[in-house]
Structure formats: structure tokens, C-alpha cells
């Protein structure tokens, strides 16, 4: 896209949307854009796994991953063949989940770990103890928290979309 730069989260959102698109005539073009997006995510991965907002290393300095960016990137890579980028990022995210209490990041973390078949029941219990939906002012956060709670009922929107 002209006059834009490629950051991790918008790329992940775009890959998710393209992978779940149906009935598009230009499937070759869609496939090409997905591959470009996936390559970009692998290129930007942080040395310890996971993703920051953009580059994983700046001026030779490794950046720390962000939980939400990592979770979203992983969800967009759900149908990709297993590889060390995904494995190391899942490892990092599992560790980060232990100390994450902010609803937005925590909910995305649960959705991503669950989509990859990792245990999240205890995490979901903790989410319910730290989040009072009545105190969440932001619609986006409320939506992703609701999706994470829905996972507890065996309903992970991302896994379902991937399997269909």
C-alpha cells in the first residue's frame, strides 16, 4: 500500500482476513498476499520468539515481544506448517501469560494459546478474576475478552475458522 509501512499487527489482521475470505475471484493474488505477509512476520520475529510492533532488532538491539502482537501474529500463522518461529513464539507467550494481567493482551494470549491446542483453563479462570466487564470502557477490549471467555465453553472463533 502506498504511504504506509508494514507493522506486525495490521499484517496479522490482514492475513487473518485473507485466509478466511471466501468467494474471491482472484485467489492467486490473495494467496500471493498471504505469502508476502507470512514472510514479513517471519522476517520481523524477535530473537527470543514473539513479535514487537515492527522490527525485532533495532540498531543491533533485540526488542522485547509484545503479548498482543505475538498472539495475533500466531493466530494468523495457525495454518502454517510447524516451525521454530511458531514454537519459540508459543513458548514465549506461555511464559508471558504468567505475568500478564491487562485484559486486552491477556485475552489475546488465551485465544492464541488455545488455538494451538495449549492448556488455557487456568488462564481463563484468572482472566475472569482480573476483569470486570462492567469496568471495561473500550469496545475492542470487551470484544476480545468476550471471545476469550467463549473459549472456556469450547468455542474459539479462530480455531473454528481455521478448521472450516
Amino acid at each position: 500500500m502506498p504511504e504506509t509501512v508494514s507493522w506486525v499487527v495490521p499484517t496479522a489482521y490482514s492475513i487473518l482476513a485473507l485466509k478466511h475470505s471466501r468467494g474471491i475471484s482472484q485467489q492467486n493474488l490473495v494467496h500471493l498476499r498471504i505469502r508476502r505477509g507470512v514472510e514479513m512476520l517471519y522476517d520481523r520475529i524477535c530473537p527470543e520468539g514473539g513479535w514487537n510492533a515492527g522490527n525485532g532488532v533495532v540498531y543491533g538491539f533485540p526488542l522485547a515481544p509484545h503479548a498482543d502482537a505475538t498472539a495475533l501474529a500466531l493466530l494468523s500463522l495457525l495454518s502454517e506448517p510447524p516451525n521454530h518461529f511458531i514454537t519459540s513464539s508459543l513458548d514465549w507467550l506461555e511464559q508471558r501469560a504468567e505475568t500478564c494481567f491487562a485484559p486486552w493482551s491477556f485475552a489475546w494470549t488465551i485465544l492464541a494459546l488455545d488455538a494451538f491446542g495449549l492448556p488455557t483453563a487456568l488462564l481463563t479462570d484468572r482472566l475472569s478474576s482480573v476483569v470486570d466487564p462492567a469496568e471495561v470502557n473500550d469496545c475492542g477490549t470487551l470484544a476480545v475478552v468476550s471471545l476469550a471467555f467463549g473459549r472456556a465453553a469450547g468455542d474459539n472463533a479462530f480455531r473454528v475458522a481455521h478448521e472450516t
Partner: protein, 334 residues
């Protein structure tokens, strides 16, 4: 497309006087003049982050005889991200001290607002940097400017070429905006001080993270347009532990043991730059800002507390910004 840092720097690093970029920036493109004949700056000693900050700040604010009675005061700290051990953000104790001081001065309400530019999860930054607890203790409301209600706003300068921006209502409706930067070097803009801090009022929900449109249009240009459009009435800069090197996130802590107060953001930033051992006239947004937003020249700034004392060793910077550093103690202002 991989973001090319040099694309940013070509526009943002106005070091080579006479280049076409600098020449373009030097052409007046503002529709408002905020520069007063003289500006006041107070550099105050503060050894550490402690509850003594409130009395230091109260004393410092008293020097300015501010009248904020009945006004809505918006404190705009610099919250970018949280990385354990890194001095990235304005310290929460300084912000909570400012809340108490402005209440004592008779403000109708004191809000704290910020839209972090790097981390999308504002609540995570608040929680992990201990801001939530500090603000809870003084019962100060926080507004996430990344997700606030917006209003389309004509820009009062034209350095970016943009005509308007969507800006948060909380900012537009505040009577008295206080920029509270962390004094840091910045690998794309040289420094991040009270003027660059205003990037945080641009809503991420509309323009993305890290405020993509501003980076694309040019950091120095965007700073000028923003500060022309959203007046900064006062500055309280956290220079107790500043940051040098690869800022704004991954630099090294550099204690200056100071807070800097000013009634003019350009004067504040020029003074902070001098405290960092930089020549402020080599920083594009300060140099151009001094044409219409405030005063950068020593001759136009009244230092009403401590004198400016440039460090023997200027702050470390990334290679592109080495020309900012003034070697030795004999700084001359143009």
C-alpha cells in the same frame, strides 16, 4: 515494504543546512503565532523519585504564578511502553505530584491523558509501569487518548501537508495542557521532549500504532503541525533519570537529577537539549518552532531557578545524530 529509517531521517534530520529538505522546512508554514517576547524556565534539583517531588513541584509552580482556577487541566505524560529496568516513561510519582499541585492551585479538574505510541495495550503500560496504582492513590482519572471520542481539527501549520487531523475531544476541550515528557534521546528525531511528547495525542485507533501517518509525513514536520494546533500551556519535564543512546525505548539511564518547568514548550525543549549537551538549533523542530511556537534563544529565556549547566559529556546518541552533541562546555547559542 520494509520501513527504511533513512526515509525518516532524510526528512527529520535537519542537520545539513542548505539541503533542500531543510530549506523547505525553513519556509514559514504556520497560521498561528504563540511565541511570547520572553519565556520562563525553572530548572529544579530533584535527587530521586520520592514523595518529596510534590513539595519541589509546588515550589516550582509557585514561581510561575499560574492561574488555573476553575480550569480543566490535562496532564500529558510520556507513556510509550513498559520494559523492565528501562527508564522509558515519565515517572508516575511526578505525575501524581502534579495532579495534587494543580488541584491545590484551584483547577476545576485534573485529568491525565495519553495515547501510547508503541504499545497498543494502554492498560498494560499503566499496570506494569505502576501508573494505575499511582493514579488510584490520588484518585485521578485517566483518559486513553488512543481511544477517546474524536473531532476533526484543522491544522494550524502546514509542514506535513495535511490539512486536518482527528484529535481527542479531551485534549481539544482542556483549558490548560501540560506536557510532561521524559527527557530522552530518540533514534528518529534526535530528542523526545515536550513537543515530541504531543505525538501521544494523536489517536492510535484512527491512525494506527506507532502513529503511522506522522512517521510517514515526517516526524519533525508532524511535531510542528501538532504543537501549532494543540497549544502546550506548560511543561513539566522529568529529567531526574533521563535516557541517552538508542532512545526512546532502549537507551541507557542518564541521571540528571532535575525537573524542568516552563511556560513555553520551545524554551523547555531548548533548555533540556542544553542540559543534554546538545545544540538546540541543530534540532529541526526546536529551530523551526522558535519562529512561531516559542523561544529557543538563551537571550529570550529567563531562567528563574538554577542556571543551565551543560554536561561535560553530552548525551550519547545514535550515529546519525552525533552532530547534535556540543563538545566541551562552551556552548554558544545562535
Amino acid at each position: 515494504m520494509k520501513l527504511d529509517r533513512r526515509t525518516f531521517l532524510t526528512a527529520s534530520l535537519g542537520l545539513a543546512a542548505g539541503t533542500s529538505t531543510t530549506a523547505l522546512l525553513n519556509r514559514p508554514k504556520y497560521h498561528v503565532t504563540r511565541r511570547q517576547p520572553r519565556s520562563r524556565v525553572a530548572i529544579l534539583g530533584a535527587e530521586s523519585y520520592s514523595h518529596k517531588l510534590e513539595s519541589i513541584l509546588q515550589y516550582g509552580l509557585g514561581l510561575f504564578h499560574l492561574d488555573v482556577r476553575g480550569k480543566t487541566v490535562l496532564l500529558k505524560p510520556n507513556l510509550v511502553d513498559y520494559i523492565s529496568g528501562n527508564h522509558i516513561n515519565t515517572h508516575p510519582l511526578l505525575v501524581s505530584a502534579a495532579v495534587q499541585c494543580f488541584r491545590r492551585l484551584g483547577a476545576k479538574s485534573v485529568l491525565v491523558g495519553e495515547g501510547p505510541g508503541h504499545q497498543r495495550d494502554t492498560e498494560l503500560v499503566l499496570l506494569e509501569s505502576a501508573f494505575s496504582e499511582a493514579l488510584r492513590q490520588v484518585k485521578a482519572p485517566f483518559v486513553d487518548l488512543n481511544r477517546d471520542e474524536l473531532a476533526i481539527t484543522p491544522l494550524l501549520a502546514g509542514y506535513t501537508g495535511m490539512k486536518r487531523l482527528w484529535l481527542p475531544r479531551t485534549v481539544l476541550e482542556a483549558d490548560f495542557v501540560v506536557s510532561m515528557p521524559k527527557v530522552k534521546t530518540h533514534h528518529w528525531s534526535g530528542v523526545t521532549l515536550s513537543m515530541k511528547n504531543m505525538f501521544g495525542v494523536v489517536p492510535g485507533a484512527k491512525y494506527g500504532w506507532p502513529k503511522n501517518i506522522l512517521h510517514w509525513k515526517g516526524i519533525q514536520e508532524s511535531i510542528l503541525d501538532l504543537c501549532a494546533t494543540v497549544p502546550v500551556h506548560f511543561v513539566i519535564a522529568d529529567a531526574i533519570v533521563a535516557m541517552e543512546g538508542n532512545g526512546p525505548l532502549n537507551g541507557h539511564p542518564r541521571p540528571l537529577n532535575r525537573i524542568v518547568l516552563a511556560d513555553d514548550p520551545v524554551a523547555a525543549d531548548a533548555t533540556c537539549a542544553r542540559l543534554m549537551g546538545f545544540d538546540p538549533t541543530r534540532i529541526t523542530h526546536i529551530r523551526i518552532g522558535a519562529q512561531f511556537l516559542g523561544n529557543a534563544s538563551i537571550e529570550r529565556i529567563d531562567q528563574i531557578a538554577e542556571a543551565v549547566c551543560a554536561p561535560a559529556n553530552p548525551f550519547e546518541v545514535v550515529p546519525e545524530f552525533q552532530p547534535l552533541r556540543v563538545k566541551g562546555s562552551a556552548q554558544r547559542d545562535s
